[in-house]
């Protein structure tokens, strides 16, 4: 067994284990922290795939931004020591059936299909130079349009978040 494979098994064990704990734990703050572990291990998978830039984005934006936001909102909306009541039995059954049925179907299709790489492609080195040129390029392999779209989307999301969460003035 190579070290690569060992690292992969470690990361995927962390991902799957903490995913299950995220959806089953009784305390909400713990669920958020388990999600943080899942996100960090996912960043590890990106490192394994040699996408260092996306791994860094995942660490800073997801693990640093979204999880902190979620923890803030948990502290604003519920008591730390609050425990959930257990989900009702029929919900658990529906969830378990979805999990087992869905994953066996998808895994069956996955394992019975054959993925083939085009024979003559040369591997593109993913460094900051290539990423920057493609992200802001307008020609072939240029992604400047979605880049601009997402900047507008982020601005809209920011305005919406402020408008929705703003305290209403007292009407007289």
């Amino acid at each position: 067994m190579t070290l690569n494979l060992l690292m992969f098994y470690l990361l995927s064990a962390v991902i799957l284990g903490f995913s299950v704990m995220t959806i089953t734990t009784g305390k909400m703050l713990r669920a958020a922290v388990y999600l943080l572990f899942v996100l960090v291990a996912t960043a590890g998978l990106y490192f394994l795939l040699n996408y260092e830039f996306l791994a860094a984005v995942q660490l800073t934006l997801y693990a640093g931004g979204i999880v902190v936001l979620i923890i803030f909102s948990i502290l604003l909306t519920s008591h730390i020591s609050q425990r959930f009541e257990r989900p009702s039995a029929w919900k658990l059954w529906i969830g378990a059936i979805t999990l087992i049925g869905g994953s066996t179907t998808v895994l069956w299709v996955l394992l019975s299909s054959h993925f083939e790489k085009a024979a003559t492609v040369t591997e593109l080195p993913v460094d900051m130079h290539v990423i920057g040129e493609q992200l802001l390029g307008t020609g072939k392999n240029g992604y400047v349009l979605p880049f601009e779209l997402i900047s507008i989307l982020l601005l809209a999301a920011m305005i919406v978040a402020i408008v929705i969460a703003k305290k209403e003035k007292n009407q007289n």
């Binding site: 995913s19 959806i23 909306t77 519920s78 959930f84 591997e123 999301a157 929705i164």
Partner: protein, 105 residues
Amino acid sequence: MIQGITIYHFLIVSTLMFFIGVMGFIIRQNLITILLSIELILNSVVINFLVFNRFLYPDQLQGHFFGLFIVGVAAAEASVAIALIINIYRRIQNIDTDEVNEMKF
């Protein structure tokens, strides 16, 4: 190509992660924990994009940029969802899905 690891390894992990997220979406009752399940689902999809990019089309960066944009959209979605949740909490002091069933009151 990554030495020793096939494309199936990654895809099995991301499939299981996706369906664990779907199950969490079904069995949870609190709005914030439902949001956590959505983050799980989005992450598994990003893993799929990157794996297909790396293993099948390593001469381009399409999956990489899709992953990048999904992370950005997830950030926007989380911020708007949390604003909505906090607003709901202000009105009825509760964010359980069983309690939030009237749109206007």
